[in-house]
């Protein structure tokens, strides 16, 4: 009898090499499935089980997941873009032109990076409002909301620093308008403005600073806070954790859950 693909995959997962890498072996028992989450350095941020209610589309609109999706696309497109880019004026503009007309698929890479960046800013805002209207910031999840606000700011800074990198008129004047706001801070405004740009106006120093922030510091900060953000979901009891529901919702959830339990 011919083996199915599933059986080949099961055999693969049973091999010594596979098990040495992933630590959990073959099988689709509840235990094995729990271990698949728990024994993986990335997936163990999540809990092994979630409430069934959390799966419905209306619970989250998948906005957090989609935000992670845009971030992954941005990392995947951002790294090849870095290969073709020099953060120096006016070479940066020539590199962007090359991406547009010379590099194969360069135009597509840049388009995907730019539209994903806009999508990420939009999704982060949408995620925040959805969480607010759902009341999902209630205790014990207060601090995860605060981490979310930090991630909103990191996302805005990521998008803002990336805006300058093409070094065209649009980039130059958008950053000039934005960075002038920093000068309005009382007393230390001019110092902040100078620190941000490495000069009194947007110039080659500003481009280098924004490049380092955009490609190095802010992505690391985002990953750091995203890891805590995910881990805290598990630690705080997961979506629809009993304690975080308002009394009215708790009461209606109990009456709704009661008939389902009888049916089992």
């Amino acid at each position: 009898m011919a083996k199915t693909i599933d059986q080949y995959f099961d055999n693969l997962r049973g091999t010594r090499v596979w098990r040495s890498i992933f630590r959990s072996g073959t099988g689709s028992s509840t235990l094995k499935r729990a271990l698949a989450i728990q024994q993986n350095v990335f997936l163990h941020l999540f809990s092994t089980k979630v409430r069934t209610r959390m799966l419905s589309f209306s619970a989250t609109w998948y906005l957090g997941t989609l935000t992670l999706g845009t971030f992954l696309i941005l990392v995947a497109t951002g790294i090849p873009l870095m290969f073709y880019y020099h953060p120096s004026a006016p070479q940066a503009y020539a590199d962007t032109k090359d991406l547009q007309f010379v590099v194969s698929s360069g135009l597509f890479l840049r388009n995907l990076h730019r539209w994903s960046a806009h999508a990420m800013v939009f999704l982060v805002f949408a995620h925040m409002f959805k969480v607010f209207y759902r009341g999902a910031y209630r205790a014990p999840r207060e601090f995860n909301w605060v981490i979310g606000v930090v991630l909103l700011l990191v996302t805005l800074l990521l998008s803002y620093t990336g805006y300058l990198l093409p070094w065209d008129q649009l980039a130059y004047w958008a950053i000039t308008v934005g960075s002038n706001i920093a000068s309005a801070v009382p007393v230390i405004g001019e110092k902040i403005h100078f620190l941000l740009l490495g000069g009194n106006a947007v110039n080659a120093n500003a481009l280098l600073r924004f490049y380092v922030l955009h490609c190095m510091i802010l992505p690391l900060a985002a990953m750091f806070f995203v890891a805590i953000h995910f881990w805290r979901i598990r630690k705080d009891g997961g979506l629809y954790s009993h304690g975080s529901e308002p009394a009215t919702v708790r009461a209606s959830a109990e009456t709704a859950a009661a008939p389902a339990k009888e049916g089992q």
Partner: protein
């Protein structure tokens, strides 16, 4: 429990010396575990596969957009040639619209600073903790406070001629008045919904409304010299 002389309550972990131990269970530390009665599913595969499908669908949409629409690229950066209008990225255009009405220290520092502070403190002020309708309790006093706050805010916006922010404020105030006249027994489902909305809902919805309106005006309705233009006037 009359002959309770054969043991002494005390702290002692030496099993040879005192083989009998007592466990004190006080009322607050019951050993009973609260069991979850709710249905649960395994994260793998139920959640992970759904997440993968969601992310892949998003990737398909974004790839299509990237294939059809090109990212903008203008001429080389030229510090001596200022475009009119010079616009920030779209998510800052609400702020730039505010800069048109207020001094930079207010619109650029105070307002965004207060917004971030307000967002951070939301969960710590027990905002919306019981999610009760704003006007369902203590109706007369709350209506008075609402009238004072709404008229003060509207007058302030009127004095600074911030019509772009005034109109959403007036619309929200109107909807809140409808909510104040509604109750959970209202015949219309929409009015029952409005009656049940708590204060935090109204504040956040007003903020969202202003954010969307100001950003849209800054993006589509502002031309040279930050004058009002229609989107099709280029």
């Amino acid at each position: 429990m009359a002959d309770s002389k054969d043991f002494i309550a005390g702290v002692d972990s030496n099993a040879k010396k005192s083989p009998r131990r007592i466990v004190f269970i006080t009322r607050r530390t019951s050993a009973q575990v609260k069991a979850e009665t709710e249905d649960q599913v395994q994260t793998f595969p139920e959640v992970l596969f759904r997440a993968a499908v969601a992310i892949m669908s998003l990737a398909v949409v974004l790839v299509w957009i990237a294939l059809v629409f090109n990212a903008p690229l203008e001429g080389l950066a030229d510090p001596s040639h200022t475009p009119n209008p010079a616009k920030a990225p779209w998510y800052f255009l609400g702020l730039q619209e505010m800069l048109h009405y207020f001094p930079p220290v207010v619109a650029g520092v105070l307002v965004p600073g207060l917004v971030v502070m307000a967002l951070i403190v939301i969960p710590y002020f027990k905002v919306n903790i019981e999610a009760g309708g704003l006007f369902l309790k203590d109706r007369q006093r709350r209506l008075q406070i609402f009238y004072v706050v709404a008229s003060a805010l509207s007058l302030f916006l009127l004095l600074f001629k911030v019509y772009a922010a005034l109109v959403p404020t007036l619309i929200m105030a109107g909807v809140m008045l409808v909510a104040a006249q509604s109750s959970p027994q209202s015949p219309s489902a929409f009015r029952r919904y409005l009656a049940g909305r708590p204060l935090s809902y109204w504040v956040m919805t007003w903020f969202l409304f202003e954010l969307v309106v100001l950003t849209a005006i800054g993006t589509f309705f502002r031309g040279p010299g930050w004058e009002f233009v229609w989107p099709w006037q280029g």
